[in-house]
């Protein structure tokens, strides 16, 4: 179903952008594949929004190349992108259905089709009854859902979502995630920019982290996590723990204990030693840091 399957959804090459002499994006390169959810993360002011705006040709890079679905950036590529900005915008005085139709028609959607499509989407999130209301009459969460639906009205090939889950209740977060997964299955590429690392771990296939406009982390989520795996194991147990050889120290973390290996010992050796001890082991795992911890560690190292 995807004619450009072999191509990248997004290809960014050596892009640089400065504002008032300050480099906001600094020789950044990455690709986003179709049918993947791509996490774009980084601390505030890292250059995420600037990079997103450059992908949409709202601002132009000083140097470097951006291409969308193999095409050079331009007015034509705007139509294949759906963008939900962090500070979302809606015409507050317009009716929900009219606002959705107008913004979708600006994305090149046939105006004969917009009404039906809007109704179908509103139906899906159980908001069909609100179609004729003015946007300003909706609750904040509902308005945000409508904005999200407006973003996907014209069936974009590339979806860029900036903090889509902020302000939503858990039910609507699940609903939105469900739709995002559906879109991925249909072959759309989705770029998710968020500070909620749990969501990134749950949704994303690959991640790009930028800090100070530069790429500091890039790759598959599992690969990144294993790269940051520290040489230690996590142990949760009952009873009296005896002496264990081959460790350089321990850290007590509330209910569990972290054993730091000395570098010559493998986790398997530790497990064998534990088997001979008079304790009941309820948890034994190789410590992989959460994305949150990796994020913090990378930002700290950068400074």
């Amino acid at each position: 179903m995807n004619a450009n399957h072999e191509r990248h959804a997004v290809e960014v090459q050596d892009v640089t952008k400065s504002f008032n002499g300050r480099k906001v994006v600094d020789r950044l390169s990455f690709v986003v594949a179709p049918e993947e959810i791509f996490g774009l993360i980084g601390p505030n002011g890292a250059g995420k929004t600037t990079m997103i705006r450059m992908m949409m040709d709202i601002i132009r890079p000083d140097a470097g190349q951006v291409s969308i679905l193999g095409k050079k950036l331009g007015e034509g590529t705007k139509d294949v992108i759906g963008y939900l900005p962090e500070e979302r915008g809606m015409y507050r005085k317009m009716r929900v259905i009219d606002s959705m139709a107008y913004l979708a028609s600006l994305k090149g959607m046939d105006s004969k089709e917009t009404g039906e499509r809007a109704d179908e989407l509103l139906q899906r999130v159980g908001m069909a009854a609100h179609r004729a209301k003015k946007v300003e009459e909706l609750s904040r969460g509902m308005a945000q859902l409508v904005e999200f639906l407006t973003t996907i009205m014209h069936r974009p090939r590339l979806l860029i979502l900036d903090e889509p889950f902020a302000n939503l209740d858990p039910v609507n977060v699940e609903l939105m995630k469900e739709i995002i997964f559906d879109l991925k299955k249909q072959g759309q590429a989705i770029i998710l920019s968020t500070h909620r690392m749990n969501d990134v771990e749950e949704l994303c296939d690959r991640v790009l982290m930028i800090s100070g406009g530069q790429r500091v982390l890039y790759g598959g989520l599992a690969e990144i996590k294993s790269r940051f795996r520290s040489d230690s194991v996590i142990l949760e147990y009952g009873g009296e723990l005896g002496k264990i050889n081959g460790i350089s120290g321990t850290h007590q973390h509330g209910r569990y204990l972290e054993l730091i290996l000395d570098g010559k010992t493998s986790p398997r050796d530790i497990l064998n030693q534990l088997a001979g001890q008079p304790i009941t082991v309820s948890r034994f795992e190789i410590a992989t840091p959460s994305l949150q911890e990796i994020f913090l560690r990378v930002v700290k190292n950068g400074q």
Binding site: I58, K78, L106
Partner: protein
Amino acid sequence: MDSKTILILRHEFLQTVRRKSFIIMTLAFPLLALLGLGIYQIVSGLTAPAPVSKTVSVGYVDGVGRFEQYTEQPGVKLVAYPSEEQAKAAMLAGSVDEYLVIPPDYVATGKVVRYTQEQELEAPGEVVAALHSFLLDNLLEEQNPEIKARAKAPLSLEAIRLDQTGNVATNQGGFGAFILPYLFSILLIMAIFSSSGFLLQGLGEEKQNRVMEILLSSVSARQLLTGKVLGLGAAGMVQMAVWIATIGVVAPMASAMIGDLLGTLKVPPSMLVLGIVYFILGYLLYAILMAGVGAISTTPQEGQQLSTLFTMFAVIPLWASAFLIENPGHAVAVVLSLFPLTAPITVMVRLGLAEIPAWQLAASIALLVAFIIALLLVAAKVFRAFLLMYGKRPGLKQILKAMREA
């Protein structure tokens, strides 16, 4: 024009015509005009005496001895009395309303004394007119009626202006030729103020509710700018059409009521064409300027303040109109006609006053068009550079930098 520009144009047009303030503004002018006419009618109904149903009878004492005939004048009947005492007694008795004394030296002095019991500002017009006619009729007794009629109304002036070739000029000048261009220029200023106000307000709202980001991720800055300017322009045209239609309806009504004052509204086609050309160019110029102002200002209030800077230029020719009326060919008038910001209004005011040399018109229009094109290019760049800046207004240096770079 591409389809996205048309979509924006249509959206802006519909949103504007549905605004309450637009509807009020559009209807206010016709309502005010009708109200004005209504008030005029009521006031003139109050001051003008009710049509004289009964003839006023005026006694008179003829000291000269030649005012015996023509005592039946329109609305007034003259009754001769041999002496002043008898005339006074007749008035006190109510058989005449007032009386006159024509003294023996009247022919030399023209002096006539009128006695009345009414307290009045001055003698009622039709009584004076009737006396006028009565005296003339008697004085010119021997002349034929045509001479008498001429003596009563000796001059009915009709001035005709000839052009260089000696033919009757199309523009006859005068009040009728002046009033319409002047009205046009006032309407243009109103249209500039209201449309640019809507443009600023709309941009301000879109910046504040952050729709701008979504718009720019869908269309180019130039499409957005063009669509907005033309959409609001179309709404402005509708407003103008309503206003001009109002003039079309009200002016004949006014002429019928007030007299020939507005009845001379004959506009030569060349003037009408120039009026429309300058109206459209003037609107485009100011709309694009306002869009640029909207892009760099952070709040609608700030936009309003900045825009005053430019709308002042639009008003200068009206301030100077007293001077322009006196000196339509002065160097200052020429400069104001050539300077793009003041040209539309100045030329409209001057059109009705005197012939504007063709070279001035050509230069003025050429400068205006060139300025508008340059402005559109610059404004699109400013638009692109600053529409997404929130909270901080760019300095002049940054704006100039953006114009060079974008």
